[in-house]
Amino acid sequence: MIRRRARRAGARALVAYALATLTVLPLLWLFVTVLKPADEMFRASLPSRVTFGNLSYVLTEMPLPRYLLNSALVSLVVTAFALLFHSMAAYALARLRFPGRNMIFSAILSTLLVSLPAILVPLFVVARELNMLDSYAGLIVPSIFNAFGIFLLRQYYLDFPRELEEAAELDGCGYLRLYWSIILPLSRPMLASLGVLFFLANWNAFLWPLTITRDPDLRVIQLGIAGLQGQYSSSWNYVLAASLIAAIPTMIVFFLGQKWLIESMKTTGLK
């Protein structure tokens, strides 16, 4: 009986290993292919010699560094402002009493399912009226706001004990001080995981930058790759090298942040 159960667990582990390998195989394939000379791209084998030529070509002969810099700037600024604004709103919605609180929260929550492709056209018109076309502001500002972060942080703040406020009141601590020096430090794990999510979402953003920028100097990395794909459709070595360079930061951020990320997904069951 016990032996049968152990054997079954062993079989399950083997199936899991096989499926996991199959899932990451395309990514490994990308990694290996980029290190191959151009004429071996389609050969299903390890490189005959490892070359960094593809990577160095796209980094030196193409404006890839500029695209990477744009992406880094936009994602970091959006993430910083989103964390600040969402934690402020969540703090008020979870810990302060004010008229209209439930109504405002419901209104915010009702936009939870609204995604960019659904409202792209009117959002573009709004951005155009605000003179945000072809600007960093246009890339950054509309990307900051989403109900999801507010919702998650509010859930988190609801679980803080009531004594926090009482202690703060005894110390003569105002709302701003309470938020800044007690609530924020306590929410570090949640902020870290949201920070990872926001950074990834903005680094990987394609549709909004595609819609709002024409200027090549404002091009973000995902646009750069899609552009290469159109321009150099036969030069797979360059397109794939650029793709790998775009993917590496996301994987690093994921490996560093996955502990918090998975923890926060577990606590909400949402994302």
Partner: protein, 317 residues
């Protein structure tokens, strides 16, 4: 009690009440300041566009922002735009393939990696990893792997005697390919949601079922499945919405097929994008956007009704 004492008492009570209401006002004032940036931002960049979709739908808008009122012309145009209904059909087919398939696979994977075994953390991470790269990179990568005749997948298929398959070039296959790639990309995320819900099912239920002699399948049928109902509902709604209006329905299509071949992968959101930004039919695109916003409002209503006003925390646990 003397009159004087009573007066003093009421004065003290009044002062206390005054202090309390002053504090309450200060608290409310502080709260409004705290929520102001997000509320203004959401109104501006989510609320306003949602309303604008409906407003713009009654105008013809050119590329330079010139408006001309056309009444319900845009909506009338929608009814006999064959391409629009074609793309609605594509979206339906995409939902019909993607939602059940990703549901079954992610639940299966969650059950597979539920109990710990050596390296289970790495296995879970591996399933989630595709979700971390961008849809653009995923699209480029799969396009490379599926290149006709020379790509890794066609070569593999030929070597096992299945002939030349044009995964993205055959109008009968392209959408199915798109669905498979979407599943590969998103299944890890749904798996994590299921995994969290599975963790919350009390072990005693399984012990009891085991004592009653329930088979593995019966345990799933009578314990796991009913306990997962709220989560299953949430995953199904969420994945339907994201298949219709999510980034996956645009980015992958843009990179992999541009809606082709023969418009067989032109999803609704891709078609709307093209109408607006390729052909400058902003008003018409807004009318179609209003339809999508209507779909979202209905789905949100359904989700709220089922979760008692958006209490996802209790609903999904």
């Amino acid at each position: 009690m003397s009159g004087l004492a009573r007066t003093a008492e009421t004065a003290a009570a009044k002062a206390a009440a005054g202090a309390r209401s002053a504090r309450r006002r200060r608290e409310a004032f502080a709260a409004y300041l705290f929520i102001a940036p997000d509320v203004i931002g959401l109104l501006m960049f989510v609320g306003l566009p949602m309303c604008l979709a409906l407003g713009m739908a009654f105008f013809e808008v050119d590329g330079f922002g010139g408006y001309r009122f056309v009444g319900i012309d845009n909506f009338a145009k929608m009814t006999d735009d064959a391409m629009l209904w074609r793309s609605v059909g594509v979206t339906f087919a995409y939902v019909g393939g993607f939602v059940p398939l990703s549901f079954a696979v992610s639940l299966g994977l969650a059950l597979l990696v539920r109990e710990p075994f050596p390296g289970v953390g790495f296995v879970r991470m591996a399933f989630f990893l595709p979700n971390v790269i961008s849809l653009v990179v995923a699209g480029v990568l799969w396009q490379f792997l599926l290149v006709d005749r020379r790509g890794a997948v066609p070569v593999l298929f030929r070597s096992i005697g299945l002939g030349n398959v044009s995964w993205l070039g055959d109008p009968r296959l392209a959408l199915a390919t798109l669905i498979l790639i979407s599943v590969w990309f998103l299944v890890g995320y749904q798996m994590l949601i299921f995994l969290a819900a599975l963790k919350d099912i009390p072990q005693e239920y399984y012990d009891a079922a085991h004592i009653d002699g329930a088979s593995t399948w019966q345990q799933f049928q009578y314990v796991t499945w009913p306990m997962l109902r709220p989560t299953s509902f949430f995953v199904a709604i969420n994945s339907t919405v994201s298949a219709v209006t999510g980034l996956q329905a645009f980015d992958l299509v843009y990179v992999l097929t541009r809606g082709g071949p023969a418009n067989s992968t032109s999803t609704l959101v891709f078609y709307i994008y093209q109408q607006a930004f390729t052909y400058n039919h902003y008003g018409y695109a807004a009318a179609m956007t209003a339809m999508v916003v209507g779909f979202l409002a209905m789905t949100t209503g359904l989700l709220f009704a089922a979760t008692r006003g958006g209490r996802f925390d209790t609903a999904t646990r």
